[in-house]
Symmetry: C2
Subunit: 502 residues, 2 copies
C-alpha cells in the first residue's frame, strides 16, 4: 500500500521508522517542519525527536508554517528541546515557556519567514520534516492538508524526511499549487491574478537524493479547536453583513464583493459563516486558513472558489471534506503561505481582510498578540500581511472578555500589532465603526459610540474628554493610558470597584 | 513664451490669473494639489484661495502628495480654510492647528491615498490644482519636480487647474513615468521590474475639456530645510556603512547592495551621503524623495540610477540640478507615489529601506510621528510602505534629543508606527543593533547595549531587568512604561533629578 504512493521506486529503501528517522535531527540544528494551523503537520518524527530528547538532551530551532497539531509543541517543550521557535504557535505549554523566557519565540509576518531564509538572513535549514500524500515519479512531494512553508523548507534543507500519511486521501494530489518566487534581483511578478490562478507545480520539486528517510503514518490531523458561534458572534456577523450590503448598495462593491480573507479563531469563523445569510453570491476567498466556514459557504452555494494555505477543520467537517475531496477540489487551491499572504497579491486582488483582535483602542490601534501588553497568546500570524495591504481591513472582537472584567476596547492598547493606518473597520457585538477617512479624534468618537460595551462607555468617554482637553492629534493621558489594564491586574476587573458593585 | 509650452493651442484661451482660477475652489470641496515634500507644488492658486478665504470664508478638504512648499499650508490654516488635510504635512502652523484639533488630519501610508479614491472609499475629487512644465499636443500634463498623487488627482477630478511654471526647465519633459495601476478586480502586475523600468507615459493623460484654467507662474520650489550632517550623523553613517560592508563580505549582498530607499529629513540625508565613503559601486535607489544625497552619490560616481516621486533639494543643489537636468535625466525617473512606494514593487526589488525614528523602544517598536504619544510631527509618510515590505528595514535616529533631556530610546514608545516585525536594524550614533531573528528579550539586550546613550543605559537596564522578573514574551511594567515620558513633562528631562545633578 504505502509503496503505491512512492512512485519513485528508488526511494523505497528509504522507508524506516520514526525513531530511526529522528536520528537525523541533532543538537543545535535548524529544523523546518510542515504544518499550518494543525493541518498537514509531521506527526511521528517530531514526537520521536521529543521522546529521544527526554533522555538524550538536544536543543533545536524549530520553524513551521504556523501552529502544529497533536502535542508536538508541548512534547518538544516538555523535553526542553526547543531553543528557538518561529514564526507562530498556539500551544499552551509552549506559550508558557515562551512567556517565562525559556524558549525564544520569533513572531513573524507569515509571508516573510522563507524570504529571510532565501536571502540567507536566517538559516541554513539542516533538516526538513514534511508530511506527504504521495511522492511522484521524479521524487516530487505531494503535500497534504497544508502547504505552509513546507516547499521552501524542503527545497533549502540539507536533508528531507518525508512522513507519508496514509490517512490523507491520495486524491489530495492536484489540490496544491507550488509557486516559488524567483530570486532577487531578478524577481518576476507573482503570476497570481485571481484566486484561482495556478502558476505553479502540483508538487514540491526536491532532489530525491536529499530524501534521507520516509516514515509511514496514518494519524489524522488534529481537529480545529473552534467554538460554535453564540449571540455575540451572530451580532458581529449581522453588523458586518449589513455594512457590506450597504457598500454594495453604494456601488463600491458588487454582489460577489472582493476576495475574502478570514483570520483564525472562533470569532472570525462564526462571522464568516454569518455571510451565508447575506444576499451575496459568487464569493471568493483569498485566505490563509480555510476553516469550517469556507465549506459552510460552499454548501450554502454562495462561495465560488477558495484559495488558502491550509484546510483546518472540526472533526466532523474534516471527515466529510476528506471523503468528498473530489467534490470540493475544483473549487480549491492550497499555496505556499508566502503566496497566499503575499503583499503583492493581497493588494492586487483587493482582499477584504477579516481578522480578530484581542483588544483595540479608541483610536483604532489593534493588539492581536500580547495579553496585558506582555504575555504572548499565539503570534501576529498572517494578520499583518493582509491588514496592511487589503482593500479593506476589518478587525472583529467581542466587546468584553472574561465575563466582563475585561473591556476589549481600551484607552490605549498595551501592545500594537496593527496601527490605525491599517485598520478600516472595527466590529464588536455592540456595533460597527467605519473609520475610513477619519482623523483620530473622529475615530475615537465613533469607536466609543459604536463598539464599546455600555458598561465601559462612560469610562471611555471620560478618558477621551480629559485627554482631548490636554490637546494633541491623538489625545492621551500617558499617566492613565494603561489604568484599565493596571486595575485589572490589581482588582481582577477593569471596572472601578464602585461600578462593579453597582 | 508660455504659449510655447501649451502645445494644444485650443487651451490658450484658458490662461487666466490665479485669483480668477481660484474661484473654481468653493466651500465644502475636496481639492487635490500637486506637491511632494516641497517639490512641484502649485504655488499661485492655493495662495489665492487662502487670500480669498480671509474675507470670504470657505473650508475644504485638501489632499496632496506629501508636504507643500512656500507657505501654502500656513496661509490656508491661518485663513481657516482647511477642514481636513491628508495624507502628510510638515508645516509648523498647520501642525499646531492639527494638534489643537482644529484641522482633521488623516495620516496615511502614502501609497494608499489614491487607492482609496479610485475605489470610491474616499472622494470624489472636485478640483485638481497641478503644477506643469508643459502641456502636450493632446492636452497631457508634464509634471515638474514631483509626481506625487498628481496624476490620479487630475484623472479623477471634475476640473483641473494647471499652473504652468516657467521657472521649471522645459527639459524636465521625459523625466516622468506615469503608470496607473489598472482597476480591480482585473488588476495586472505593476510592470516595474527594476528601478529603471518605464512602463508608463511621460505625461499625465487628461481630457483637455476638464482643464478649466491655466495660470502662468515663475516661482521656484521652496528649498529643502535640511541641516548639514554633524558628528552624530557621521557616526550613524559609519555604523551603517560598516554593517552593509559586512553583509557584502558574508555574501548576502553584492557590492551594489539592493535598491536603496532613504526617508526624509536631515538624518537620513546625512546617512545616505555617508555611503559615498563606503566601498560600494553601481548603487541604485528606489525611493520616494530624492534629496541632496542622491546627487552627491551620483557625483561621487557610486550611484547608477535613482527612481523617486520627487526631487527636493537645498537651494544650491536645486539650481545646479535644474541647470544640468539633461546630464542627470538618463539616470532618473519620477513616478506616482503609488508606484514609487508600492508594496508589490518594494518587495519585488528587495529594497533596503532607511527611515528616521523620533523614538524607538527597547523591543524595536518605532514611533515616527507622535511627540509624547499625542502631538503630530509630520506623519507616517511612506515609511510604512517601505518598512513592511523591504528586504531590510533600517531605522536611524540620534540617541538623544533636545540637549540630552530626551532619550530617543525608551522603555516603551508612546505611539507605534512600525511594530517590531517591521524593524530589522536600528542605528544611533552609539552603535547598531541587528535584530534579525531575535526574540524580544534578545532584542532588548542588544538595543540597550548598542543603541542607548550611556547616560540612559543604566536606567534602561534597570527597567528591562525589573520587567523581565515579572515575565512575559515582551516584558514590561505597564505602570512604569511611560515613566520617562512623564518625567520629561514634569521636570523637563527624562533623566531623574539626581542624575541630572550628578
Ligand atoms: C486574537 C485571537 C487570540 C482570538 O482568538 P479567538 O479564538 O477568535 O477568540 P476568543 O474570544 O476565544 O479569545 C481567545 C482567548 O483570548 C481571551 N481574550 C479575548 N480578549 C481578551 C483581552 N482583551 N484581554 C485578555 N484576554 C482576552 C479570551 O478570553 C480567550 O481566552 P481563553 O482561551 O482562556 O478562553 C486569535 O484570533 C489570534 O491569535 N489572532 C492573531 C493571529 C491572526 O490574526 N491570524 C490571522 C491570520 S490567520
Ligand atoms: C522622524 C522625523 C521627524 C525626523 O526628522 P529629522 O529632520 O531627520 O530629525 P531631527 O533630529 O531634526 O528631528 C526633528 C525634530 O524632532 C525632535 N525630536 C527628535 N527626537 C525626538 C524625540 N524622541 N522626542 C521629541 N522630539 C524629538 C528634534 O529635536 C527636532 O526638533 P526641532 O524641529 O524642534 O529641532 C522625520 O524623519 C519624519 O517626519 N519621519 C516620518 C515620515 C517618514 O519617515 N517618511 C519616510 C519616507 S519619506
Amino acid at each position: 500500500m504505502p509503496r503505491d504512493r512512492i512512485r519513485l521506486k528508488s526511494l523505497w529503501d528509504r522507508i524506516t521508522d520514526a525513531e530511526e528517522a529522528a536520528l537525523h535531527v541533532r543538537d543545535g540544528m535548524t529544523v523546518g517542519m510542515s504544518g499550518f494551523t494543525r493541518a498537514g503537520d509531521a506527526k511521528a518524527v517530531p514526537a520521536a525527536v521529543a521522546a529521544r530528547a527526554l533522555h538524550d538532551p538536544l536543543k533545536i530551532t524549530l520553524m513551521t508554517g504556523a501552529s502544529l497539531g497533536g502535542n508536538v509543541d508541548r512534547e518538544l517543550t516538555e523535553a526542553k528541546a526547543l531553543a528557538r521557535r518561529l514564526p507562530f504557535q498556539a500551544d499552551p505549554t509552549l506559550r508558557s515557556a515562551i512567556n517565562r523566557g525559556e524558549v525564544m519565540f520569533i513572531d513573524q509576518h507569515l509571508s516573510e519567514t522563507v524570504e529571510l531564509l532565501r536571502s540567507r538572513q536566517m538559516g541554513p535549514v539542516d533538516v526538513a520534516i514534511v508530511e506527504a500524500a504521495a511522492i511522484t515519479e521524479e521524487g516530487g512531494i505531494i503535500p497534504t492538508t497544508s502547504v505552509g512553508n513546507t516547499a521552501t523548507f524542503a527545497i533549502l534543507a540539507e536533508k528531507v524526511i518525508v512522513e507519508l500519511n496514509l490517512s490523507q486521501p491520495a486524491a489530495l494530489e492536484g489540490l496544491h499549487d507550488i509557486y516559488i518566487p524567483t530570486r532577487r534581483p531578478h524577481r518576476d511578478p507573482i503570476p497570481v491574478l485571481q484566486p484561482e490562478s495556478r502558476p505553479g507545480l502540483p508538487y514540491i520539486p526536491v532532489d530525491p537524493a536529499k530524501i534521507a528517510a520516509i516514515v509511514v503514518t496514518d494519524r489524522t490531523d488534529s481537529a480545529a479547536s473552534i467554538l460554535p458561534g453564540d449571540a455575540d458572534t451572530a451580532a458581529i456577523a449581522g453588523h458586518l453583513t449589513e455594512f457590506l450590503q450597504s457598500e454594495v448598495r453604494k456601488g463600491r462593491l458588487g454582489p460577489s464583493l472582493s476576495p475574502l480573507q478570514a483570520g483564525i479563531g472562533s470569532i472570525a469563523n462564526a462571522v464568516m459563516q454569518g455571510l451565508a445569510d447575506g444576499p451575496f453570491s459568487g464569493l471568493t476567498m483569498y485566505s490563509e486558513v480555510l476553516q469550517d466556514c469556507t465549506f459552510d459557504l460552499f454548501d450554502a452555494g454562495c462561495l465560488r472558489f477558495a484559495s488558502g494555505s491550509s484546510i483546518t477543520l472540526g472533526a466532523e467537517r474534516q471527515r466529510d471534506v476528506l471523503n468528498r475531496i473530489e467534490h470540493y477540489k475544483p473549487k480549491l487551491v492550497l499555496r505556499p503561505q508566502e503566496v497566499s499572504n503575499h503583499p503583492e497579491v493581497v493588494r492586487r486582488l483587493g482582499v477584504i481582510a477579516v481578522n480578530t483582535a484581542l483588544e483595540f483602542d479608541i483610536y483604532g490601534n489593534v493588539n492581536s498578540t500580547h495579553v496585558g501588553g506582555t504575555h504572548m497568546m499565539n503570534g501576529v500570524g498572517g494578520s499583518g500581511d493582509f491588514a496592511r495591504n487589503a482593500y479593506m481591513s476589518i478587525f472583529v472582537t467581542k466587546s468584553l472578555a472574561k465575563g466582563g472584567t475585561i473591556s476589549s476596547v481600551v484607552p490605549m492598547v498595551s501592545h500594537v500589532d496593527h496601527c490605525e493606518h491599517d485598520v478600516d473597520i472595527l466590529v464588536t457585538e455592540v456595533g460597527l465603526a467605519d473609520l475610513r477617512g477619519l482623523a483620530p479624534r473622529e475615530r475615537a468618537a465613533t469607536i466609543i459610540r459604536n463598539c464599546v460595551h455600555p458598561s465601559y462607555r462612560e469610562l471611555a468617554t471620560d478618558y477621551f474628554k480629559a485627554a482631548s482637553a490636554r490637546g494633541g492629534h491623538t489625545p492621551h493621558l500617558l499617566e492613565e493610558a494603561f489604568s484599565w489594564h493596571l486595575r485589572l491586574r490589581e482588582t481582577g476587573s477593569m471596572l472601578p470597584r464602585e461600578m462593579v458593585r453597582a
